[in-house]
């Protein structure tokens, strides 16, 4: 299979022969074009563009430049694809680079990124994960070994100008509701650290000003962080621009549901093999209009024995919310961390483990007023010693 997007691991994304991009905009030019039915390989840098190092010092996590993320490979122009079609993308395979057999997870500091439990873990932390074929271990989190569930954290198609405008409108409105908040409510376009392929000059300035940040998932897919979107999956993307303009990045060796430390799963550079196809007029025919739909692949690691923690939507300070699923899932995670601390892990280790391992986060009941019940399930098999009571 031909590699149509290459990266040099020793260079940042803007220095690559064909640079990728780190904003969403319809006018970012395609890096290459393919026909429906074609298969090809793309290489990807890890999402921070090389800012995080394989060492024991979390200062790189603490100081990370989040205006640089996510550096994406693409866009791919698919010939003959038009708005209203469905772009069908098969993830044929994904892998690591032999010369970089490791990834990282980190807790972002509250004042630079934040995380799901940032009020409980406001300081930066880092864990390095070594790859051993299909398995990974971390010198920073003992007694754990598991098979990866490699997936792209981020896949998306370009928005139309109208859709982009709508994103910018609604997100700026949210930011305006509390502009001083730390961490911020959302990230507006910024002209710092922008990478836009080979775009230069006034075009660059215009796109940089308008280009949507890649952090959130949106109608185009984007940073969905769906851990099960692994090898063998098929994705149906709604198409908003000619050629669809597919981009991909933010590869994870593994991730727990929620990617709760924000940084993130086990972040890595690597390669992905894709096959693209089209269903003409598919958006209307299948009523897939707003967000991608997908089928998971058949080779996920299969775990059998979980230990599952629950949380309900009462704030830890005793305040009753109305069915707030975020609170419920946060409590489930805190309960899991308490349990793991009783097993000898530090809180930070337990937190990073929940974000890195193939942990299942479910919404159990969302209607039992006033309490949503959410669960987080940890496969017992990832531990090399027994952690179950009785």
């Amino acid at each position: 299979m031909e590699t149509l997007f290459k990266v040099d691991l020793n260079k940042s994304m803007d220095k690559q022969d064909i640079p990728g991009h780190n904003r969403w905009h319809p006018d970012i030019p395609a890096a290459f074009a393919v026909d429906p039915g074609e298969s090809f390989r793309m290489e990807c840098l890890e999402w921070t563009d090389g800012q995080i190092k394989n060492n024991d010092d979390p200062s790189d996590i603490r100081k990370v430049n989040l205006e640089r993320v996510h550096v994406l490979s693409g866009p791919v122009y698919v010939n003959g694809v038009e708005p209203g079609d469905l772009l069908v993308v098969d993830i044929l395979d994904i892998g690591t680079f032999g010369e970089q057999p490791w990834g990282f997870n980190g807790i972002f500091a509250k004042d630079n990124g934040g995380s799901f439990l940032t009020d409980y873990y406001p300081e930066a932390a880092k864990s390095i994960w070594d790859f051993h074929g299909i398995y990974t271990t971390s010198r920073h989190i003992p007694n754990v070994k598991f098979a990866g569930l490699i997936h792209p954290g981020l896949m998306g198609v370009a928005p139309s100008q109208e859709l982009l405008n709508e994103w910018n409108r609604r997100e700026k409105e949210l930011i305006a509701s509390n502009p001083e908040r730390v961490p911020p409510l959302a990230n507006p376009p910024t002209e710092e650290s922008v990478v836009l392929g080979n775009v230069t000059g006034s075009n660059f300035d215009r796109i940089a000003k308008e280009g949507a940040r890649t952090v959130p998932p949106r109608e185009n897919g984007g940073n969905c962080d769906i851990k099960d979107l692994s090898k063998g999956s098929r994705v149906y993307f709604p198409v908003f621009v000619e050629g669809a303009k597919l981009s991909v990045g933010d590869l994870h060796f593994s991730q727990g549901d929620g990617e709760i430390t924000f940084c993130g799963g086990i972040e890595m550079s690597g390669w992905i093999e894709l096959r693209v196809d089209v269903i003409k007029g598919g958006m209307a025919k299948y009523q897939i209009k707003t967000n991608p739909v997908y089928q998971p692949g058949p080779v996920n690691p299969h775990y059998n024995e979980y230990i599952v923690f629950q949380g309900v939507s009462v704030e830890p300070n005793g305040k009753q919310t109305y069915l707030d699923a975020n609170v419920a899932y946060r409590n489930a995670c805190l309960n899991a961390i308490d349990f793991l601390k009783a097993q000898g892990y530090t809180g930070e280790q337990a937190y990073m483990l929940l974000s890195a391992a193939p942990v299942q986060g479910h919404l159990a009941g969302v209607v039992d007023i006033p309490n949503t019940c959410a669960t987080v399930g940890i496969p017992k098999e990832i531990f090399t010693k027994n952690i179950l009571p009785l």
Copy 2:
């Protein structure tokens, strides 16, 4: 295995030889006592206490008396168990009654119960599900057949008086924030339609006034609606009162994550076989203090091919929320319903199917500001005809 709690399907819960209860209170007397290590069977009525009939008319759903729910079997007093212990409960088996081989799902009307999508589906609806051994089908939702994942929607231990007081405090506070809301934000204690075992007189009045409604899940477990808490599961309950006082009810033949129609999964009467044990001082030792922890059993139906829908946390009217997981999951469900409507189902059929079938609801990414990504996955194998594009 001895049946220690029996029900007559032709009588309501208050008319049973040993009535169960429908409120949480430490002073509801135990229906029977067992020793740690003992196994026993309990029979359960469906949660509405017989209000819903096997016919095609949803008026019983529309008019349901929600002050009656959930009628529970128990409490079981476990000898020697004390506050601070963990009560270990094994669900050895669960089954249907041969004389009542059906269950129901329904959408509650907005002005009487409501549901997760009540703004989209404000009218009552009902589907009847017939049981064929391990399988179920509905004459109200064609081309669907699947194996049940039988589980108790509700299992819990009695709260201490202090814990009960805290529940009442926080929930009344929430109600007070918008007392006229329809549907209400929470359900306060009420003296209507109360069942409290054999309690009578002034004790009855006192408990009825204080007794917490059974709708929400709380620290004691309760109405968690965890679909994977099926045959063979083991639950670790924190213990708040002498004897733990375990109760169970709200059996489901199957349920989708979220139980989104509120009524609910496939609601049924049936029996459950339990074994209880104790870990003395286990709450501190394992740091299981706030909510039960569980291990799922080994005989869940295994599905292989899912079609997964995503939702992000932007309101359908375009308003950007900050990482609101409820909005994200609601959008995922709406996307799934749109897809199923394109396959020929009515919106109500699709909605009830999502609530009744073994649908997976995951939180994919909860930190990618400002958009949480949630997913809802439908096993393709539940359909008797192909529903996948391409």
Copy 3:
């Protein structure tokens, strides 16, 4: 679901209100008739007709009357079904009787039945297995607990007279090749201990003289001992007589591939719920002419971690066979037993465990002359303590 075949556990099969049968013959009259599309329940006695007791003494195994086996429930006449059709049988559910919550496994003595390893374990042995909902344990085999995979060891349709004649011809020919062998090469018809429903008089004598023994699987299905033919399975039977005349028995709570002790899996009395249907002319259309075809059901216990033993087709005495799969599988079993003995089990315990637990027996390579490789895999999860090296 109506019970159309009932048994009284305190009576032998010939004393039941409607007796079943223990021979195959087209002229055994149907116990009842149903229409295609109908569902019904049948009750079954364990295969030896009550000869084996729940105690620690294997003398009942040693002296078992094998002319009595297998006592079957049926036959069921399916209206409108004719030779050349396919009879479709859905196993809707299977279960135990609450009043008899136990089953047995035994090693038959070499001079009365024999077994797969009879040269190594010539003496009779017995293990009793107690049922705890979906789980089983044995006081005779410690540190083991697993979920059952309940299935009928024997399901079959009646042979035509021609097919029956052919069975008798070929089996007598085999017996004649070594008539004195212990254990015998096959079991010819015998007039001892015969049960033939309500047949009496000269008809009884004729059928008893001709009726094929039920031990072997044959073209009609019969004693296939397929452990995965569990709840939710669908079987397609070729039809040889009017009405198909389906019979069922030999229920197992669980069984390992091969049922190597001969007696057998975990043998039990119980009930089974079936639904029957017909594909007219299906034998020719689907070319299912000789043996049944089936689809396994979706609720088998799922195990994740196996320890797998291999055997090749060299006799333990050093004699090289030509691809003899029996020798290979026997060696795999002997290797597994050696391993389990090193873990503290007796040889007999290990042998019975392999026959009772959900053990996987595969043919790995059958062409690598002169050695077939067979494997036997034991799920690690059935042990309550770790048995794996390293």
Copy 4:
């Protein structure tokens, strides 16, 4: 991970910089040495050493030189490992070469190799399988697509001289019982087409004369063709010589149980990553003396819906065997082929599909005299159209 054994795909094994070997002998020198705990990558040529081409002409299969097979990579000397130890080998990962994204399956002709059904399919045939990431399809077998279950068909350690002598003794004895048989009963040592690493001169002649052929699996592992020995598996090898001398080859992209066409699974060149370790004195401690033991890995493709065919041990000509598992499995395969022919496949296509796809071959009952029941199960999901009746 360092590649310690490299191959050039354009050269035969004897022309490689460090040649591998195609015989078993204790005196074949190690290609390299590693320490316990070390991980490394090895590259492998497909088993015939490049004889089979990617075209539609099966004449290469018909004329294949079977004295050349299997060309193996290794041996690996593991420092400090001695006879009596267990060598622990983790298969960390396996993959294809991007420059050779295809493999082959073939039916060997009866007079050159033969196969499991050689009396039914005596002519050579070939199918080419293209790799698309984790999936494969064949232009020679339509409507089939499935995920590979990549594994080494052959892994083994060197025999001691005593063990080698025993192999030669017993296999020559078998051959002598019918020396003219076609195909032969076994393959004796031959001096033709021998590859022995860098051995030269009289040593070469001696080893070639004695060296055991690699076709059969034996006490050292060898050509076990265990399809589930895939990524993430751990193997415990008994050790017979200093350093264990591990070799590997015969990689399969996929294989059905039995590898019934003999050639074979989907045969491919590729790479494998291994980690080795040692359990000192493990053979006695764990009683793993005769054959390797293994644990399968966690990422096998998971299939849910099988169609399963049975066979019993009566020869198709009506001759009754005594529990002959080979006959039973052969009949199961013939039944499956008949069914697939009714679906439009040729017999040869169906035969090759059973050998190439992840088909399950089980021994169901091996004691029900006189008929063993064997089954072969085909995952329905490998077909791109529905093949199930009703």
